[in-house]
């Protein structure tokens, strides 16, 4: 194979910038990140880009490829035709630092606001018993590699900078759901989901689910159940303490072995 591709890459920093044109060699089997690396090695040694694993596992190399959020290391060049011009721009929702590198600190701040996992106080390490079927729901969400592309694409922040203070984006709504579905967690996060993380801003467009490189069903499996649970709490006073979820949790705890039993 081997051909010369036309690339447009956004270059600049927080004071401004623009698209630059490059012609660059492409070899068989390569991905977009290989091409960016070739640009660094041959034409633009100071081109800023984040990456780590080059295997779709760390979520560092997120950018917009022809306007769509993608992991550059998992986007094969063979998905484009040879005469196609490929445009690479930084994720739009987060402030640019330089070239393809953006300031994603928003995400870390939101992560810090989710109340942490809290196991039963009397449960000793080594005595945790959970059935596979019960951990699987949260395990799906724990596949998240924190590429932040879902947060990048969600219109509630992408088009509304002002919502950043009140809305945490799909990644962290999912984190709340994950903790809630943990069979041994003891904290009720419904109020913070509404008050601190703005679950109400989500209107279930599923754009986040579409871009997730881990194919996590963020909307269907995390956000909608979370919303339903909150609705239960708000409108059904009987469930205000022992909600559906908490009952499920207890049901699940009792499932396999004797829970909390010492070995």
């Amino acid at each position: 194979m081997g051909y010369t591709a036309k690339f447009k890459v956004w270059r600049g920093d927080d004071t401004g910038g623009g698209i630059e044109d490059f012609n660059v060699d492409v070899n068989e089997g390569e991905v977009v990140l290989d091409i960016i690396h070739r640009l660094q090695a041959t034409q633009a040694p100071d081109l800023a880009v984040r990456w780590n694993c080059k295997a779709g596992k760390c979520g560092s190399c997120s950018a917009e490829v022809n306007g769509k959020p993608r992991l550059m290391c998992m986007t094969r060049m063979s998905t484009f035709t040879e005469d196609e011009t490929i445009t690479i721009t930084p994720m739009r929702t987060f402030p640019v630092i330089r070239d393809l590198v953006t300031d994603v600190s928003y995400n870390y701040e939101k992560a810090r606001m989710v109340p942490a996992f809290a196991p039963p106080a009397d449960l000793a390490p080594g005595d945790y018993r959970m059935a596979q079927i019960d951990v699987e729901r949260s395990q799906e969400f724990r596949k998240c590699i924190e590429c932040f592309m879902c947060n990048n694409v969600c219109h509630a922040v992408r088009d509304h900078e002002e919502n950043k203070t009140t809305f945490s984006g799909p990644r962290f709504l999912m984190r709340i759901a994950e903790l809630d579905m943990h069979p041994l967690d003891t904290v009720d996060r419904r109020e913070v989901a509404v008050e601190d993380h703005g679950v109400g801003y989500c209107n279930i467009t599923k754009c986040c689910t579409e871009v997730c490189p881990e194919h996590i069903k963020i909307t269907d499996n995390a956000i909608i159940p979370l919303k339903e649970r909150i609705a239960d709490k708000k409108y059904d006073p009987i469930f205000s303490i022992a909600s559906l979820f908490k009952r499920n949790k207890q049901g699940r705890q009792a499932a396999p072995d004797t829970p909390h039993a010492t070995k």
């Binding site: 660094q40 040694p45 100071d46 780590n52 295997a55 779709g56 810090r112 196991p119």
Partner: protein
């Protein structure tokens, strides 16, 4: 001296992989103020890539397992060159460290009775690896990251400041350790984002910087693996140990070229995958070495029975320790029995139903589908050896992880000793937890006992700054990216999986050339997020590490674990008694020999004398006969 941001802490941890995070958690739990510094974003360290799992003798799947069995497996895997004290602590403490992760919120795969499930892995006698599918490293790093968040939340409730006790400095690269009167005094580095300088002044510094893979061409490692910690430690006056031992993982991807080296997890074999050559032969049966003869199946029938009846059959030879499998693949390919792209076949498609493969090996399925257009539920993978792990590393005290430089600690892949000449799969993640915690504890105790904090002077910072800026004033037109590529080829070709004297002599000569070329490599652009500058600085570290590896490899005249000499193909009892220690003399790496400590008698007793005879000299053998009940 330009503006330098100056911070002061009790403990500064360099590295935010499993080892660094566990160390930071411990130091904070001991009441210390901790900085965590890392080159990439928080949560992205190399640990995230680990697939197979964490080795810990919990005995959840096979109740015969216990720390003694794990200890024996680790020593055998390392061909008895391990620090036996570290191997002992590791085997004893790993289960507690894994259970602790559950209290932080980790969700491992479960056994039918609700305990943590454990899987088979090469060199481990029983199913021992706690795992989550094939993304165990992600679970580990996220769990520790989330534990740190929870500690920060505690600190916030108490003080109104999340960062009162733990502060994270992401995308900061440390370029130099600061020392005062022969003690650690802190670390100096730059913010990648701005190129501005920063110093962390602290009486205790913990190195947890990971490995050196990027000195080799074909590697499973990420860009961070430039051996910074090894080089920083040596320059500051500490030593490295047995740097010749480098693990080439037998199964890396070989095609397409741009992904060559990316890891194919050993779980593929643990879960039933088999290796065949272009003639369709399951060749590993021809490569069972004498020391392992009685532990591995000699026929495919017996090997296959083992998956369902491990108590009455011996394990398949595909699960031999990694050095054995990597050498076997290398030999098959050299003999002309390789695949079209220069590897061998690894097949699960004929062994497991498609849905089971997708369930057990989801990221492998994904990786091959997306990067190579190969559906592993329908066809075989092509695989070959890839540089994966460095067993050698910074020399530490086995109990506290302190290096020879007081106040400097090291844990995780950057430290040496535990794995001897070859690491067993799964023993790294457990290493990170056990010795990360011990380093955090060691550092806290050290700070506690220290009467006065070592001072950091302006002169020290000015010097460190000049060193970091040097690449900008180089005038030559050498391109750092080209030097890096040349270095990687040299190490791969001349100090790679099979070594010989003349080639290593050649490599050492080339390394001297590279040192000159680095001095002539100018940097273009400014200081803000400039990868060209970053690489120019990293190159200095890689060159020192490469020199240490090449010199130690040339010196050790035997083949053992991750060090195979064409000209000295046998293991030597006499060489086993020696550690090769490396220090920096102001110019480069120099080596010296250090006798190994003889193993404690109660640990020796865990082995049959017959087995010990394979590794130890006659005078080292114990007089006991432990019988055959192990």
């Amino acid at each position: 001296m330009s503006e330098i941001e100056r911070h002061s802490f009790d403990v500064v941890v360099i590295g935010a992989g499993g080892a660094g995070l566990r160390a930071a958690i411990e130091a904070r739990m001991q009441g210390k103020r901790v900085a965590i510094v890392c080159k990439s974003l928080f949560g992205k360290a190399h640990t995230v890539m680990a697939e197979g799992g964490i080795a810990a003798a919990m005995g959840n799947v096979n109740s015969h397992d216990n720390w003694q069995v794990h200890f024996r497996d680790t020593m055998r895997g390392g061909k008895f060159l391990n620090s036996w004290r570290m191997a002992e602590l590791h085997a004893k403490e790993a289960p507690t460290r894994v259970w602790e992760l559950e209290t932080y919120g980790a969700l491992f795969d479960r056994t039918p009775d609700g305990k943590i499930s454990q899987r088979n892995f090469g060199g481990h006698e029983y199913p021992r690896l706690a795992h989550v599918g094939d993304r165990s490293g992600l679970e580990l790093i996220r769990t520790l990251q989330q534990k740190i968040v929870s500690l920060q939340q505690e600190d916030y409730r108490e003080t109104g400041d999340y960062e009162a006790k733990i502060q994270i400095f992401a995308e900061v690269t440390i370029t130099r350790l600061l020392t005062t009167d022969g003690r650690a005094a802190g670390a100096f580095g730059y913010f990648r984002e701005t190129g501005n300088f920063v110093s962390f002044e602290a009486p205790a510094v913990i190195l947890a910087t990971g490995g050196i893979g990027k000195t080799f061409k074909v590697t499973s490692g990420s860009w961070e693996y430039t051996g910074d910690g090894h080089a920083l430690a040596m320059r500051a006056g500490a030593t490295t140990l047995n740097m010749e031992f480098i693990q080439f993982h037998p199964t890396g991807m070989v095609w397409p070229p741009s992904v060559k080296g990316i890891l194919v997890t050993e779980s593929v074999r643990g879960d039933g995958g088999v290796l065949t050559n272009s003639e369709g032969t399951r060749f590993m049966f021809n490569y069972i070495p004498d020391v392992f003869k009685d532990k591995y199946a000699t026929t495919p029938e017996e090997a296959d029975r083992w998956y369902t009846d491990p108590d009455n059959n011996r394990r398949p030879p595909e699960l031999l320790p990694r050095d054995e499998v990597a050498r076997a693949i290398n030999t098959e390919v050299k003999a002309g029995r390789g695949t079209p792209h220069g590897g061998v076949y690894l097949d699960v498609s004929s062994r497991l139903p498609a849905d089971v493969i997708k369930k057990k090996l989801p990221s492998m399925w994904h990786q091959f589908k997306e990067l190579a257009d190969v559906d592993i539920t329908k066809e075989a993978m092509e695989v070959g050896p890839t540089c994966h792990y460095v067993m050698g590393g910074v020399e530490v005290d086995p109990d506290s992880q302190e290096t020879l430089l007081p106040g400097l600690f090291a844990a995780g892949e950057v430290s040496g000793g535990l794995h001897g000449s070859n690491r067993l799969g799964g023993n790294s993640l457990s290493d990170l937890l056990v010795f990360g915690r011990r380093a955090g504890l060691g550092a806290a105790e050290y700070v506690e006992a220290l009467p006065t904090r070592p001072a950091v002077t302006d002169a020290m910072l000015t010097e460190a700054e000049a060193e970091a800026l040097a690449p900008f004033s180089n005038v030559g037109d050498e391109n750092p990216y080209t030097i890096h590529a040349d270095l990687q080829n040299t190490m791969n070709d001349l100090v790679g999986i099979i070594r010989t004297e003349s080639e290593m002599v050649d490599a050492l000569a080339r390394l001297q050339d590279f040192k000159v070329r680095v001095k002539n490599s100018g940097v273009k652009g400014g200081r803000a997020f400039n990868p060209g500058w970053h690489l120019a600085l990293d190159l200095k570290n890689m060159l020192l590490v490469a020199e240490a590896v090449a010199k130690a490899s040339l010196d050790r005249q035997e083949s053992r674990g991750g060090h195979t000499r064409d000209d000295y193909p046998k293991m030597s009892d006499e060489w086993r008694k020696l550690n090769i220690v490396c220090r920096y003399d102001g110019e480069g790496a120099v080596i010296e020999h250090q006798p190994m400590q003889p193993m404690r008698p109660d640990l020796l007793e865990l082995f049959d004398v017959e087995e010990l005879k394979k590794y130890l000299t006659a005078e080292e053998l114990p007089t006991h006969d432990a019988g055959s009940d192990h």
